[in-house]
């Protein structure tokens, strides 16, 4: 059954058998991919992208910090002087030092929450992601943000280039990060677009969609043609996430279940009814594929993100049964909108992120595919370099360009990546009303104009995942405005 026929029929009543057959193989959901299916065979390896969305806008200015005294670029005292008076600076002796080749070997510092944490004298769960820097498994892509084309400060202040709609607004910046474009509102995300393009080609025999979300049907996961699998996170067992309750083995129950299934093939001329039926049908099909699973080996922290990534790891462990060669996962942790009480809140959020990502990385090592599974951050914006409020309740407000962490054995080398800012390095100049500040005047608060676009960051991931260069503009329409599409932080191995 071809997609063309499926869509043709979807306007009229389908037999149940027909419906089940059509939706059974999710590869059939992409028309564009259908064309390409004749051209080559499915990949013979497995790859997965794991998106971790830090909802609310992670304070990148307190995540990656200058930890040197070189005054030719922004150094620790620049940071300290800007943030310490209100109580938002992290003391230098607490920073986790990293040596950055791209910065001429200068030392930077990570937020201490990304390192080992102890509780009552013992390390909790694992050592966090900091160790992975020294092992060459962590890339930091600096000063990434929403852009429509490369934008200088003069261009921004004079509005001589198009600017992303509604900067500093949560919902709009989330939408732009997840859609992979900042020039207009669209109703699908770049994960979903990749799924549209690649499902038939890469997962022709899959029993589940290419995308699984353990954090709801967010824009990132929505394709124009394909839908994500959306399931509960751990501790719900994987074989219960889509379990239909209340059916026994009596004749009447079997008959009721048959009717329950068959009703979805009726009244399909009503499009809202058909849409609901399609989603439910997809759930029932996936439910059949998830009747058993094997538990993961590594201990995951019992946290929101820990449990999400644990469920992802279970799905990955089941990849051969599910017939998937390429998968995209969406996880999300909220609470990063730290307008107030940031010091303790941010620390505890980053601890959670670090512990969960490390557990997941370790599990991928155990599963032997750490070089095939790449975790990456998205977050809608950075926060103002100038703190909001002061003292014990100090926080920060919405800003722009930010630093994003990528983890996996596919990482080329631990380093900073991204397009150089005005200072000739990829790390912005941390000066109010300075060369990288979108704010101007005496009240400028430090909102860095991104030097690298979301599209460039995402396209690097997409290319590694197997999206051909020629298809990148389909996924990221404005990537053509940016000369560099591969930031080089991932390699195939």
């Amino acid at each position: 059954m071809k997609r063309r026929e499926f869509l043709k029929k979807s306007g009229c009543a389908l037999t149940m058998l027909g419906l089940a057959t059509q939706i059974h193989h999710f590869g059939l959901m992409s028309a564009l991919a259908q064309k390409m299916q004749d051209q080559s065979t499915p990949p013979n390896d497995y790859k997965a992208l794991v998106c971790i969305f830090l909802n609310g806008g992670n304070d990148g200015n307190n995540t990656v910090i200058p930890n040197h005294n070189d005054s030719s670029v922004s150094n620790y005292s620049v940071y300290y002087n800007a943030r310490n008076p209100q109580g938002l600076a992290i003391p230098q002796n607490q920073l986790l030092p990293i040596s950055v080749p791209r910065m001429g070997g200068l030392t930077y510092g990570l937020h201490p929450a990304l390192g080992p944490q102890t509780q009552n004298g013992t390390t909790i769960v694992n050592n966090g992601i900091y160790e992975l820097w020294a092992q060459g498994k962590m890339a930091i892509v600096t000063n990434v943000g929403t852009l429509i084309q490369p934008t200088t400060r003069q261009q921004y202040l004079n509005r001589t280039v198009p600017i992303p709609y509604q900067l500093y607004s949560h919902s709009d910046q989330i939408a732009q990060f997840q859609a992979g474009r900042s020039d207009q509102i669209v109703s699908f995300g770049w994960g979903g677009k990749i799924s549209d393009l690649r499902t038939s080609q890469d997962n022709p025999n899959a029993l589940v969609p290419m995308i699984t979300s353990v954090a709801g049907g967010e824009l990132f996961t929505l394709g124009q043609l394909t839908l994500p699998l959306s399931i509960a996170s751990a501790p719900t067992p994987l074989n219960q996430v889509l379990l239909l309750q209340g059916f026994g083995t009596s004749t009447a129950d079997i008959e009721r279940r048959n009717a329950f299934n068959q009703l979805r093939s009726f009244d399909r001329n009503n499009q809202l009814v058909a849409a609901a039926s399609n989603i439910t049908e997809q759930a029932i099909q996936a439910s059949n594929a998830l009747q058993s699973y094997q538990e993961v080996t590594v201990t995951f922290p019992n946290t929101t993100l820990g449990n999400q990534l644990k469920q992802v790891a279970r799905m990955i462990k089941k990849r051969n049964d599910l017939g998937v060669n390429r998968q995209i996962f969406f996880c999300q942790l909220g609470g990063f909108d730290t307008h107030q009480n940031q010091v303790s809140a941010h620390s505890s959020l980053l601890t959670q992120v670090s512990q969960a990502m490390r557990a997941f990385y370790d599990e991928m090592v155990v599963q032997g595919i750490a070089n095939k599974v790449t975790q990456f951050w998205l977050t809608e914006f950075n926060r103002t370099f100038n703190p909001a409020g002061s003292g014990s309740t100090v926080g920060s407000d919405h800003a722009w360009g930010n630093h994003l962490i990528v983890i996996g054995d596919a990482v080329a080398a631990s380093d900073f990546y991204g397009i150089n800012t005005s200072n000739g390095t990829p790390f912005p100049t941390l000066t109010f009303n300075g060369p990288d500040d979108a704010d101007s005047g005496s009240n400028a608060r430090g909102r860095w104009i991104p030097s690298t676009s979301v599209e460039q960051f995402a396209a690097t991931l997409a290319k590694w995942f197997g999206v051909p260069d020629s298809d990148l503009p389909t996924v990221f329409p404005k990537i053509t405005n940016f000369p560099i599409r591969d930031l080089g932080f991932l390699v195939n191995s």
Binding site: G11, M29, S171, L244, G246, Q262, L263, A275, S277
Partner: protein, 730 residues
């Protein structure tokens, strides 16, 4: 226990007001007919350029994609101001994709005033599909007031291609005579049973037999008048103390040796538990259903969430503002919401000061609560500039300026002015109070739009030498800023459309939005403005009608309302059925993606502009309809129908159960199950269940032994309630 019994007594009392339904006209609109050639189902059409206003000759022709053409519709009964934006025109191509075409103009045909020409452009109005339709023949239809026309054939690019007519399609040539008006007969009561049920799903938390009987007797207009004046709430608001910084030792979640008394004191008093319980009990048993329903809709616009606002007393103070103003004036609601401490905490206005301003509230009062991001036409469609781009309503600078206006207010802690102040607790009950020293005294420049001259500029304060002067300046500034927002031309269509989406249908026609928005604007200074708006929404011809045939009409039931509709339909009571349900139901809807008063963020449970993937359908609630929640919804129905929510182990909850005894009697009386299905078809599906659905359910019901009529009734209810056909309220 005594209060519960009294409550049941009160609930079973019947109103004595005598009212009549004579004011209710026939709710049905005629079904539009798209005119074809006299000898085929080919659309009667002509290129817009060559149209002279007459009926064109019947010529078989194709039109290039992108051109403007005229098609012809009849069997309409238009309101005086009803024009092109009352219609939607769709084509379906041979690939099965549906495209919506822009409708540019509508004019009656010269000399034939019962036939109208619609000028449409062959263009994908929604812009969802990246390419145009498959060339060749397509099927076209016209939709009006939730009713769809027949489909006729139109050729794009060339004549021919592989698309089949609808089964039974016949030519619909231009009628030579005007359509006959529906004859009005004298009657008593509101006899349209399907529309009664539809109305009750739109105006309440679910139909009941008692309400249906009442509306049959007095009609919907008289019932609405009753509702606008009905006392609220029926279940008293929980009256809870604010939590002091150190809660009392017998109510602190057992953090010491003193046992809490009662055992769940802490969550009852200081959690979201009591507010959620109250919300469900009022939804189940409240007499002022419409006010509760509208307040609930408003709570999904002016969102605050228990994720941050953690005490029921805080949430109730906020909900009271919404309920009090649900039929009141929008501007008054804006004012009270702005100074509500729950909102002040949630969106940070309570700590926004001139030296440390916070943009959060300023941004959302514009973006989410009133104006939206882009300029709208009076019918809620987007305005576009000469290049076809959307036009932003404001920029960051405007947000910064509103931020300054909103500085200086914080929690009410002045003994003389704050009646609910509790030492040691933050006052989340009284409106916020100004701290004059924290208010920004510089000049502000606000929203700019035609007519904004009188409100746009707030000058710097020149005489703010003392607190009283600052307070006067700040309050004047606040009111001027709220006027500046309220007077923005976007507010009426923006709010009208969202309210229609919550009550009636996810994708209303622009004409419907325009009618409601016009009512909003006509009542701008009416203290009961929203009463008129709600009336306009519910009495609109697009909302009313015994049958709705438009395939895109309606809305997905959100989990909370899926629950309340089933509960009210089937006599919800406590688990042992001796008293009313305790309303402890958050864990029942939670797996379906919605917990009352716990929206994940200020963007609500779902955004108003959500489009279902793989379709062009705007359907907000579908944002939380996923593979996971689809199963969870069915499991929720399973619990309600075949089981119940039991009392908890410590016995402090009463649980919830439904009853199917009346259906059981029907099933026992009629072993063919036809009576059972007739009843459920009417009660749950407004009488619109398709024959194949009905037959399939009867087969499944009759697989249950006739000796078990309860199980038969439950089987039927389960299959209907879990069906997509029921999940869509239409």
């Amino acid at each position: 226990m005594k209060t519960c019994k009294l409550l049941i007594l009160a609930l079973s009392l019947v109103f004595f007001i005598v009212a009549r339904a004579q004011d209710d006209p026939n709710p049905d609109s005629p079904t539009p007919i798209l005119i074809s050639h006299s000898d085929s189902t080919r659309t009667l059409s002509v290129s817009a350029k060559s149209w002279r206003g007459n009926l064109p000759k019947e010529v078989v022709r194709s039109f290039p994609y992108g051109t403007e053409i005229v098609i012809f519709v009849t069997n309409l009964d238009l309101l005086p101001d009803e024009g092109a934006n009352a219609f939607r025109v769709y084509i379906q191509d041979a690939k099965g994709r549906e495209f919506r075409l822009p409708v540019l103009e509508m004019r009656p045909v010269k000399g034939i005033d019962w036939i109208y020409g619609l000028i449409v452009q062959l263009k994908d109005e929604v812009g969802y599909w990246q390419e145009g339709p498959e060339q060749g023949d397509v099927l076209m239809r016209v939709s009006w007031r939730g009713l769809t026309s027949n489909r006729t054939r139109l050729s794009i690019g060339f004549v021919g291609g592989k698309i089949e007519d609808d089964p039974g399609a016949k030519p619909t040539p231009a009628p030579l005579e005007p359509p006959k008006k529906i004859q009005e007969t004298e009657y008593v009561g509101y006899r349209w049973s399907g529309d009664r049920m539809r109305f009750l799903q739109q105006a309440t938390f679910g139909p009941t037999k008692a309400l249906d009987n009442r509306i049959r007797r007095i009609g919907i207009r008289a019932w609405l008048e009753e509702q606008f004046n009905a006392p609220y709430p029926t279940i008293p608001y929980p009256d809870l103390p604010l939590m002091p910084s150190n809660p009392p030792s017998d109510c602190n979640g057992n953090q010491n040796d003193v046992p809490d008394n009662p055992p769940d004191c802490y969550r009852q008093r200081y959690g979201m538990y009591s507010a959620q319980k109250w919300f469900y009990q009022e939804a189940f048993y409240g007499e002022a259903q419409l006010r509760h329903r509208v307040a609930w809709a408003l709570s999904q616009i002016w969102v605050i969430s228990g994720t941050d606002i953690q005490q029921s007393s805080h949430m109730i103070a906020y909900f009271q503002v919404l309920a009090r103003n649900a039929f009141g004036n929008w501007r008054q609601l804006m004012y009270e919401m702005t100074l509500n401490p729950g909102m002040g905490e949630y969106l940070d206005m309570a700590r926004s000061t001139k030296n440390n301003p916070n943009e959060n509230y300023a941004r959302e009062i514009l973006q989410l609560f009133n104006v939206g991001l882009f300029m709208l036409n009076p019918d809620g469609t987007y305005q576009r500039d000469a290049q076809g781009n959307l036009i932003p309503t404001y920029d960051q600078n405007v947000v910064n300026n509103f931020t300054k206006v909103f500085t200086g207010w914080s929690f009410c802690e002045d003994t003389a002015r704050c009646p609910n102040r509790t030492p040691g607790a933050v006052n989340f009950k009284d409106p916020m109070l100004l701290r004059p020293q924290n208010h920004d005294l510089t000049a502000k420049t606000l929203l700019n739009y035609p007519g904004s001259d009188s409100t746009r500029n707030i000058p710097a304060c020149t005489n703010c030498s003392n607190s009283a002067a600052i307070e006067t300046y700040a309050n004047n500034s606040l009111n001027q800023a709220l006027d500046n927002i309220y007077n923005h031309p976007n507010v009426a269509p923006f709010i009208s459309r969202i309210l229609i989406q919550h009550l009636v249908t996810s994708d209303p026609s622009p004409a419907y939005v325009a009618r409601v928005a016009a009512t909003f604007n006509a009542n701008r200074s009416n203290p009961r403005q929203l009463k008129e708006v709600v009336k306009a929404i519910l009495l609109d011809p697009e909302a009313r009608g015994n049958v709705k045939t438009e395939p895109n009409y309606g809305k997905l039931r959100e989990p909370v309302q899926l629950l309340t509709n089933l509960a009210r339909q089937f006599d919800v009571m406590s688990a042992d059925r001796t008293t009313i349900s305790d309303g402890v139901l958050t864990s029942v809807t939670s797996p379906s993606g919605q917990v009352a008063f716990m929206a994940p963020s200020v963007f609500n449970y779902y955004p108003p502009d959500f489009v279902i993937p793989g379709t062009t359908l705007n359907a907000p609630e579908f944002a939380i309809y996923t593979t996971g929640t689809a199963i969870a919804r069915a499991n929720m129905v399973n619990t309600l129908v075949f089981s119940r929510i039991n009392t908890n182990s410590s016995g402090v909850t009463h649980g919830t159960s439904l009853s199917f005894s009346d259906l059981e009697a029907l099933a026992a009386a009629d072993p063919t199950s036809n009576q059972l299905l007739d009843e459920l078809n009417w009660r749950m599906m407004n009488g619109n269940m398709s024959a194949e659905m009905r037959n399939r359910i009867i087969t499944a019901v009759n697989a249950v032994p006739s000796s078990n009529p309860l199980r038969r009734a439950q089987t039927a209810v389960y299959l209907i309630a879990t069906s997509s056909q029921y999940q869509i309220q239409r």
